[in-house]
Every structure is written in C-alpha cells, then in structure tokens.
C-alpha cells in the first residue's frame, strides 16, 4: 500500500515548548490510520503541526508535494480536511452557514452530507451554538466532507459524546473513510478497533510504535503505551 502522507522529523513548538519531537510516520492512501497515545503526548499537536497551525520543522510530503512550508489555508486547499478536537463549530452562525463556509469546490458534496446527516438539513437555520454536542460533531464532520478531499485529519471525534452518538459518528467516519483516507486521533479504542487498519503510537512527542491496528490492540503494547488493558478497552 502506498502512502498519501509522509512525515519525516516533524517537530513542533507552542510558546517555546516542544510538543512534538522528531516524529516520522506515514499515512496510507486508503483506510484509517490511527494516531494513539496517552493524554498530552502530542497527538493533537501533531495534527495541528501538519496543518501549519503550530510553528513546526521537518518534512511533510502530501501526495508527492512538500507542504511543510505552506500556510494553513494552502495546505487545506491541497485537499486536506480537518475535524478539530472539541468540534469548533461557529456557534453564532447557523448550521447552513457553517457548511457554506466550508464549501471550497464548485460542486460541494451536499448530497453526501445530507445522506450521512439528515438531521443537519432539518436544522439548517438553527444557530450551531444551540446544537447538542453530538449534533455539533456532525456539523464538524460535515464541513470536512463537503469537499472532495484527499485526506481527512480527524481529532478525537467521539470525545465527550454519549454512547449512542458515538455509534452514529463511528458509522459516519466509516462511510467517510471509504471515500477518503484518514488520520484519526482517538482515545476510544473500540472506535479505533472498528475503523483503523494501522496505528501510530506517540509517547513524549515521539513515535514509539507503528504497526497493524488489530495486532497492537490485542497485545500488551496497549497497556505499555496507553496505560489501559484490553479488558478496560472492552469495558
């Protein structure tokens, strides 16, 4: 399998503090690659560094093009969509305005979004800030799916959601991953097991493990690197 994204020696700093250190990994051009690690190891920071939202160094090649010197909007315009941690919908705008803002292409995927999230179409005129957490997550995902992207960077999409909504979001991610490769940061290992074929594990801002997802999740590496057992994962 070839790679859509190649990262070599990525380092990132926030206010002078090193949050990602010399990270190297690849993201396959199909399916879901999960970026795992304990809290605070730099998973979200890695995603933000890839997008140029943090000061960074190192080489990032996207589908054969170097993107590590580009500004964020240029990186996104290459076909990389971002679903941020905590959704970050524009709370003062309506659902429809949130989605319209995300439309980059001449022919946005409104039909795909409508099929995946019919509830959002019903709530088009509702202010996004008044939606539930799960509905806001749908807006956030829908924004990323509005265009024909070549890579999705999805940061903790099930964080803080009720179990029922986690199921809905997981299904939406699965459908999205059938069309577009994904780099997924996720703490919920059941979601990782359902979606990911490869895992990249970070510790202290560095990559400490890369390999097939099922193999990793069934081994004691889960406990060593994430601090949870497979029993806890099932629970």
């Amino acid at each position: 399998m070839t790679d859509i994204l190649t990262v070599r020696g990525l380092s990132a700093r926030i206010a002078g503090q090193q949050v990602v250190e010399d990270a190297s990994f690849d993201v396959a051009e199909h399916g879901v690659t999960a970026l795992l690690g304990r809290n605070g190891v730099g998973k979200s920071s890695t995603i933000k560094a890839l997008l140029g939202l943090y000061e960074r160094s190192g080489e990032v090649t996207f589908d054969g093009t170097r993107i590590d010197k580009l500004m964020t909007h240029r990186i996104v315009q290459q076909g990389i969509a971002y679903v941020p941690e905590d959704r970050e919908v524009f709370s003062q705008l309506t659902v429809e305005e949130n989605l319209r803002l995300a439309e980059r292409d001449g022919a946005p995927n409104r039909a795909v979004v409508a099929a995946l999230f019919p509830e959002l179409i019903e709530r088009a005129k509702q202010q996004a800030g008044t939606l539930s957490g799960g509905q806001q997550q749908m807006v956030s995902l829908a924004r990323a799916l509005m265009n024909e992207n070549r890579l999705l960077l999805v940061d903790e999409p099930t964080k803080g959601l009720a179990p029922l909504i986690v199921g809905t979001v997981t299904k939406a991610l699965e459908a999205a991953a059938e069309r577009t490769p994904m780099l997924l940061v996720e703490q919920n290992l059941q979601v990782v097991r359902a979606l990911a074929h490869t895992v990249i594990v970070l510790s202290g801002g560095r990559v400490v493990h890369t390999g097939p997802a099922a193999e990793f999740l069934d081994s004691d590496l889960v406990h060593r690197h994430l601090g949870v057992s497979t029993d806890e994962e099932a629970a």
Binding site: L53, T72, Y82, F90, Q92, L93, R104
Partner: protein
C-alpha cells in the same frame, strides 16, 4: 424636560460620531486581534482631504460637504487598506508587533499632518442649515446632530447588510468567532483582514469629515482625541461586537453629556463606566470569550 431631550439627542449625536470610529476598531480587533492605534489617523487624513476637496467644490455648500464626505469615505478606506497591506500583513500572527506598528503610525501621522496643515485647528464653513437648530418638544437641537445620527445609522445598516448577505461577510463573522478555524477550512483570512480594515477606514473617514462638522474645525489631533473615546466604547461594547459598539457609543456619549451638564465631569464619568464594565463584565456588554 427640554433640557433632558436636548441632552439625550445631542448625546445620541455624539454617540453617532463615536460609533463611526468604534465600529471599525471593533471589527478589526474582533477579526485580527489587533488594537489599531492608527485608526485615528484614518479619521484625521480623511477629515483634512475631505475638507480640502469639499471647499474647492463649494465652500460652505451642501455639494461641497457631500463631496467631502464621499472623498472622506474613499480616503479612509484606501489609507486603511494600504496600512493593512503594507504594515500589518507582513507581521501576520505577530500581534504585539502589529500593535506597535499602529502606535508608531498614529504618532508619526499626527506629526505629518501638523507639518502639512499646521498645529492650529482650521475653522471650516458649513451649509447654513447645519448651524441652525430644530425645536423638538421645546429643546433646540443643533441640526448637525441629525446629520451625524443619519450617517451613523446608514453606516450601521450597510455594515450589517455586508456582514449578513455577502460571502466575505460570512468569513468575517466566522473569523471574529474563531479565526484559526476559518483558516483551517482553507480560507485565506488575510483577504478578510484587508476588507475589514477598508470598511473600518471608510467609516472612520466619514467620521473624520463629520467630526469637522461637529466641532466646526479640522485639526491634526482630531483623530487622536476621538480615538480615546472610541477605544472606551469598543471595550464597553465588547471587542469584536458591532452591536455592542453601537449600544456603547450611545450609552457613553449620553452619560458624558449628562455628566458634563450636571457638574462638568463627563470624561470622568466615561472612565468610571469603563472601570465598572471591566470589573463586572470584562468581556463588555456584548462581547464573547474567543477561542
């Protein structure tokens, strides 16, 4: 009763002038996180050039004044857009440096204006009607206040229409809430920066010409003195909130008028109001915590 009506309406008139300056300041801060200390310079240069053109078209006539206002709008917009493109954009995401540049521009431009037009205020001639009054329930309201109020209402409506009905308006509203996320959707937010500067500059430019109507003179320091109150209005209204700026403009000016009339402590009352808002509602009347 007539005194109260007089103070209320003249207060709203002064508030209209504050709003013309504060609206741009608030939008610029809301979107870019930059407190623009050069904003007063947009007002002053537009006031001078508007007056220079207006008096050549017809000194003391409506045509001269209206052309002057139009020129003021254009000059304010162009100078503001150039300021953003030349001085602010190269310092993208370096907010402290951006603020320092605007401070420098604000100071240097006053010296430049003094060099060109002198240090003394220049008295201007206005159409006769503006020097007269209109009786409202026994209160003789100076007619120039109606012009100020009308202009501010028109500017408010135009900005609201722009923000609500255009794609750049949508980007600006989103950017005021969360600029980083706008960028992360693939939008070059810097274009919106230039537009916001131009809109703010245009409103300040109109404010510059109307300030000369209000005070009956143009001066190199006009922008600086109005900028102080515009900053207070912007903070009280809530940084980034146009509605907040509109409400706070009227509140501050009316408080100032009443306090000035009943004891001559208008400026102190304004600072007191600012202190109270900062103590009890630090985000301002309509401000929100930004991401």
């Amino acid at each position: 009763m007539s005194i109260i009506i007089l103070l209320l309406i003249t207060g709203v008139g002064l508030g209209a002038l504050y709003f013309l300056v504060a609206s741009g300041l608030s939008l610029i801060y809301g979107l870019m996180g930059v407190l623009n200390f050069a904003h007063g310079s947009f007002l002053t240069i537009a006031g001078f050039i508007g007056w220079e053109v207006g008096r050549r078209v017809g000194d003391g006539t409506w045509s001269g004044l209206l052309i002057g206002m139009l020129v003021g709008v254009v000059v304010g917009a162009v100078v503001a857009a150039l300021t953003e493109l030349v001085f602010i954009r190269p310092l993208y995401n370096r907010h402290i440096e951006q603020v320092l540049v605007t401070v420098g521009l604000g100071l240097a431009s006053v010296a430049l204006f003094e060099g060109i037009w002198g240090t003394d205020p220049i008295q201007i001639r206005l159409p006769g009607w503006l020097g007269q009054t209109t009786n409202v329930l026994g209160a003789n309201i100076p007619n120039d206040r109606w012009l100020l109020i009308g202009a501010a209402v028109a500017v408010l409506l135009l900005i609201v229409l722009f923000l609500q009905r255009t794609s750049y308006g949508l980007v600006i509203r989103a950017g005021v809430e969360n600029r980083t996320m706008v960028t992360a959707l693939g939008i070059d937010v810097r274009r919106a920066f230039t537009i916001v500067f131009a809109i703010g500059g245009a409103a300040a430019g109109l404010g510059g010409v109307l300030a000369s109507v209000y005070y009956g003179q143009v001066s190199a320091h006009q922008g600086t003195s109005l900028l102080i109150f515009a900053f207070i209005v912007t903070v009280i209204g809530g940084l980034g909130s146009l509605t907040g700026a509109a409400i706070a403009s009227v509140l501050v000016a009316v408080i100032q008028q009443f306090a000035n009339f009943y004891g001559g402590w208008g400026d102190f009352a304004v600072v007191l109001a600012l202190a109270l808002v900062l103590l009890f509602r630090p985000t301002g009347l309509m401000g929100k915590v930004k991401h």
